[in-house]
Each structure stands twice: as C-alpha cells, then as structure tokens.
C-alpha cells in the first residue's frame, strides 16, 4: 500500500479584484446594501454560479489535484503569479480554499518566508526563541539546540545584540538557522533560498538536501531550477493557477523550459547611439545549429550569435565584437571578428558559441571599433538562457557552475605509501 501523506483534490482559490485590493472569495456576489451587506461581507457564504460572467473574479489556483507520498520531495515550479504561493498558503492553513479539499497526514511545518516575526529591537537570542515559537518549535527544543543554531548561523559574537544592528546577511543566516531546526514530518518551503550570498545559499541547499535525505516529505517551491533538479524527484508545474504537468523532475523542467523559451526573443534590436558616429549596431540574433532562431539552449548545445550593423561612412579596420555577460554582471567571454576595411552599408557577422557553460542566463555587450578605438558600444542587451537539461547526460554534470570541464587526463589515483610518508 502506498503511503500518501498529502492528498489534494479539486483545490481552488478565488479572489475578487476590486480597485487595487484583491479581496477574498467570500465577497464575490453583488453585496446587498446597508447593514445586510456589511454582514454578508463577513459571512463565508456566497451564491454560486455568478462568478464566471464577472471580470473581477480571479482564480489564483483552480481545480488542482495531486498526492504526495511519505518521504517524497516534490518540487513546485511555475512563473510568477502561477499560484505556487497560494497553493502553499492553503496547504499550510493560512488561508482557506474556495473549493476542494486537502488531507494532510502527520505534523506539518511551513516556511513561507525566512525570518517571519523577527523583531528588530530584540537581540539575536531573544529573536531565536520568539521565531522558534512562531514556527512552532517548542521552547525546550530551542533551548536544547540553541548553540547548534547559533553556530550554524555564525553569529556567536553578536547573539546579544539587537538584530536591527545586524548586517542583512547575519539576519538572514540566523533566521534560516532557526527555521532549519524545524523538524516536522512534512515541510513546506517557499523560495527560502532566494536570500543570502552564494556561499550561504549553498549551505541552505545542503541543509535542505539533508532534510530530504532524512526521509521527510518536502514540498519545495522555487524558481531555482537547478535546486529543484537537485532536490526533487518529482515536480509539479503550475500555469496560471492550473496544474500543467506533474511527473519526474527532468520531464517537467524540460516541458517548462520549452514553454517559456518562446518568450525569450531570438532577435533583439540594438539602440542607436550618437548620430555623429560612423555606424551603429542594428540587431542581435540567436540561432541554434540548424539555423533556427532560438534563445533557449540546453547545456552543452552549440549555438550562434549574429550581429547586424550599419555603417554611414567608410570606416577602415572595423572589428565587431560581442561579449557574453552573466545576469550577475560577470563577464564570461568576448568574441571578435577579423578586422576589415568597410564602405557604407549593412553588414553582419556570425559567432559560434561552443562553450561548456553551466545552466545560466546570459546577457550581451555589442561593440564596433576602428583601429581598436570603439565607436559603438552597448551592454546588458539580449537574453539567452542555458537550461540545466543536458544534451548528453555525460560528461555534463548540471550541478556545477561556470564552465563545465570533464578532464579525461585527470584520473583519480590512490596515494601510494612513500608519498604519504613524504607528506
């Protein structure tokens, strides 16, 4: 018999939009005026069947059904506003669904935000206890694991300082450390890794991995596809409130990427510069190896960049260059064309990109120069996405970052006795 701990059936949540304030499902019908109307607003009752004709009705999630087995780590992905957070809010009991049911077996803890309830005036120590109480960790439990929490957060020296004097990194580390000691049977996590520096994110990810390995059931909502890929066996994809796909993570992620790929444009117009300049860049195009326009490539897949530019005058010794920059503004590589003397007209130049880049988002810089003096330069333009789904499973491991190299000559040897003695 399978051991199902979360069973969701036909779950839906309706909001009414009126003005700028989204209002809850309960107030959907045209309210009677006066006191009766006021009272109605507080009642959980509404007439059915009227909502479909109304434009100010909004289903945050609609008719969602799935189940989760004990010990499973289920990823939940989808674009902003696809209903991920609403789903977690309903499952954690913060808000009621409009339709459907969810049966949850066992103790559940949810972490929808790191540091909920931290008070700036209180010290780190005081906040640890307070936050523990808010997350539902027993006071005795916190006291027992206090040192462990403080050590994980690396804030020993400042534990008796009010957190308003903490750096944002320290604040987040302490908040996460408390939350990481939440040990329910079912854990709901929302975007908690979206904070902190890279090192801390890795630490959090490690902790999450440990939680998952400990056989606990986890629902993990994230935009970080690499993290979902690492942690989750199965993934659920939401799209505009509906369940688009649920299945093995690999499949769902590639489905998701293939859908979002359409939105990344494969052709970008370049901005004009000063009219005094002898020329300007016109367009940036991206193609796959089959010369089809595309802006989403799989890990290890070669692709092409085409720069289109225009010259108004004759320019000697023209070099066109394109630079790849990560979204975090880290320059990755710059490609140059061969120098050439050109007359006025439109030109294009193609660069082939065969870098073993890990999953990342790339922006571009485009430059034109004459005798190494640039006369046109733009940066932060275009957007290409390298997905973590590899073309071939090997040698591309998807968990690395930067350039992924598998060096065949670097073999692992046992350390021989005399070497050990020498060292």
């Amino acid at each position: 018999m399978t051991d199902i701990v979360i069973r969701v059936e036909g779950l839906g949540k309706r909001y009414q939009l009126r003005g700028s304030e989204p209002r809850s499902n309960e107030h959907c019908e045209r309210s009677p005026r006066g006191w009766r109307g006021l009272w109605r607003r507080f009642q959980g009752q509404y007439r059915r069947g009227t909502d479909d004709q109304r434009s100010d009705i909004f289903w945050a999630i609609k008719d969602i059904s799935f189940s989760v087995e004990r010990g499973e780590v289920l990823g939940v992905i989808g674009e902003n506003g696809s209903g991920k957070s609403t789903l977690l809010k309903i499952l954690s009991g913060i808000t009621d669904p409009t339709t459907g049911t969810a049966d949850i077996t066992g103790r559940m803890g949810s972490l929808l935000e790191v540091g909920t309830g931290f008070h700036p005036e209180l010290t780190g120590r005081e906040n640890t206890y307070l936050n523990g109480a808010i997350l539902g960790i027993k006071n005795a439990e916190i006291r027992r694991r206090f040192d462990e929490i403080v050590a994980f957060a690396e804030v020993e020296k400042f534990i008796d300082t009010p957190v308003k004097f903490y750096s944002s990194g320290m604040y987040v580390r302490l908040a996460f450390a408390v939350a990481a000691h939440l040990e329910p049977e079912i854990l709901l996590l929302d975007e908690v890794l979206a904070v902190g520096d890279a090192a801390f994110q890795r630490k959090c990810l490690g902790k999450m991995g440990a939680v998952a390995q400990a056989g606990r059931t986890v629902l993990f909502v994230s935009h970080n596809l690499a993290a979902v890929r690492n942690l989750c066996g199965r993934t659920l994809l939401l799209e505009s409130g509906a369940l688009e796909k649920i299945g093995p993570t690999e499949e769902v992620i590639s489905h998701y990427l293939s859908k979002t790929a359409v939105e990344l444009t494969s052709s970008v117009a370049l901005p004009a510069c000063s009219p005094d300049d002898p020329g300007r860049g016109c367009k940036l195009h991206f193609f796959n190896v089959e010369r089809l326009p595309q802006a989403q490539f799989r890990l290890g897949e070669p692709w092409r960049i085409v720069v289109e530019f225009e010259l108004y005058r004759s320019v000697p010794h023209v070099i066109a260059a394109v630079g790849l920059i990560s979204l975090e503004s880290v320059p990755l590589i710059t490609y140059w064309s061969k120098p050439k003397d050109l007359r006025p007209g439109r030109y294009c130049v193609e660069f082939e990109c065969e870098l073993p880049l890990a999953a990342c988002e790339i922006q571009f810089a485009v430059g034109l120069s004459s005798y190494e003096r640039p006369f046109y330069y733009v940066q932060g333009i275009g957007h290409v996405s390298i997905s973590p789904v590899a073309v071939r499973e090997q040698p591309f491991r998807t968990s690395g970052s930067g350039m992924l190299m598998s060096l065949r000559q670097s073999e692992i040897h046992p350390v021989v006795a005399e070497e050990r003695a020498a060292s």
Binding site: N25, E26, G44, S92, I94, P97, T105, R107, E113, T116
Partner: protein, 280 residues
C-alpha cells in the same frame, strides 16, 4: 506552524469553511507558548532603549491622575463622594485604563502583526488576546501605585477588596470582547482605527472616571449602566473606598453585558479570521 500535539497518523482536512465556525477555544491552550512569547515580545520591545523602562507603567497613570486632580478636583471642583480627589480618580482610572488600553492595543494588534498573519498559520485569536494580556500587566503595575496611594491617604481597606479581581476580570472580559470585534472589523475597515481613539475618549466621559456616578440622575442610571464599565468602575470605588453608587443590579448588568460582548466577539472573530490572510 507544527501541530505538535497531533498524533502521527491523524489526518487534517483542509476544506472551504461554510456557515458558522465552532469557537474551538482548545486552540488557545495548544498555542499557549506562542501566546506567552507574543506577550513577552510586546513588553520587552516596549521598554527597549528607554531609560526609565518599566517605571513608565507607574508614571503614565500617575501623571494622568495628577492632570485630572488639577483639572477636575481643584479647578472644576467635581464632588468626589467625600474622598480625596486623587484617590477617588485613581481608583477609577486604574480599571478604565485597563479597559481602554486593552481595547486600543487589541484593535491595532492584527495590523501590527500583519506579516505573521500572512505567512504563518496559527489561531489568530492569540494576537488580540496577547494585547489584552499586555494591558493586564500594566494594570498590575498600576495597582502597586494604588496601594501606595491608599497608604498615603490612610484609606483603610475592608474585606471588599477581594471583589477587585472579579471586577478586573469583568473589565478584561468586556475589553477582550470589544477588542475582538474591533480588531476583526479593522482588518476589513481601516476606518475603525481612526474612529476608535475618539470613541474611547467619549467612553471615558460616559464612565464615572473623573466624576461620581451619583451625579447621574436616578432615572437615567439603568441606561447609564448599559456601559459595562460603569458597574466595574463604581464597583472599584466601592471596594476600595466604600463610596459610590455601586449596586448588585448594576454589577450583574455589567457581568451579563461583558459576557455577551465576549461571546459575540469570539464568534464574530472566528467567522472573520478565515479571510484575514487575504485581506490584511
């Protein structure tokens, strides 16, 4: 929130709520640790970075008492049933401030804890209850000052002081009841927050705080006693100073009204709390 007391294989069902919601006060007990921490937080935070700290809990009612004494005792010369005006005023201020600060604090409490409500699940009722508990602490501190004043004015106490906790309980009940109404309403209608300070002020003048209830004409007294704090405040004066117009009927009316406020407040709050996270 982890329901630590829920046994391993108990299934919790989440479904749309319809009709009347049960009061389910068991929640409050299960989450007592959180209640304790919220009260502790509010008290700790209140006096952080203040030099006088907890002393403010003494100073505030004493200053109000002094202002009232100068204004109403000396200038307007309000009759004080033959008692020295400072004691007369303070004996009434104490329960009134318990009531007014409990209502004010609880009305703002939900908005002040907005981030908790939208991110963590727990019985929301804990929030206004913790606000009321905070004002109870002020009341206890203020009572110490009262003991000092009684000694200073050489007022002899009688067995009647044992009624005081009961009276304080009635004030708390009424305050919590009203606080629940007001806090739940303020989530939906922010107007409440603007109207409340004014209403509290009117309420103080509709309660025999600066004057004696004996000033109110006999024929109006029953109508007057529809304010549950009238019975409580007059009861305080009677229990401490042996003065005033306190009567059994008045007190019974206060108890009944306070209980009605609490029960209606609880059921209204329970009904409204389901949508707090969506509206706050």
């Amino acid at each position: 929130m982890i329901d630590t007391r829920i046994a391993k294989n108990v299934v919790r069902r989440i479904r749309p709520a319809h009709g009347l919601v049960p009061l389910n006060l068991k929640d409050l007990w299960e989450y007592r640790e959180l209640l304790y921490f919220l009260v502790w937080r509010d008290i700790t935070v209140r006096y952080k970075q203040s030099t006088l700290g907890m002393a403010w809990a003494f100073i505030q009612p004493l200053l109000t008492m002094i202002v009232f004494t100068v204004l109403f005792g000396w200038l307007v010369k309000v009759p004080s049933d033959g008692m020295p005006y400072p004691v007369f005023a303070y004996a009434a201020l104490l329960p009134w401030q318990l009531f007014s600060s409990a209502v004010t604090l609880s009305s703002n409490s939900l908005a002040a804890n907005q981030h908790l409500i939208s991110k963590v699940s727990f019985p929301r009722i804990i929030i206004p209850v913790s606000a009321v508990a905070v004002s109870l602490l002020d009341f206890v501190v203020g009572s110490v000052a009262l003991v000092g004043m009684l000694a200073l004015y050489k007022v002899a106490l009688t067995v009647a002081v044992f009624v005081l906790p009961v009276l304080a309980l009635v004030a708390l009940t009424a305050a919590l009841g009203l606080g629940l109404w007001v806090s739940a309403l303020s989530v939906r209608f922010r107007d409440v927050r603007h109207a409340l300070p004014f209403l509290i002020q009117v309420g103080m003048f509709a309660t025999p705080v600066v004057y004696s209830a004996s000033l109110v004409a006999e024929s109006w007294r029953m109508l007057y006693a529809l304010n549950p704090m009238v019975g409580v405040v007059e009861g305080f004066r009677w229990a401490l100073l042996g003065s005033g117009t306190a009567s059994g009927t008045m007190l019974c009316l206060s108890v009944v009204l306070a209980a009605a406020l609490l029960i209606s407040g609880l059921s209204f709050f329970r009904q409204a709390e389901r949508t707090f996270a969506d509206m706050i």
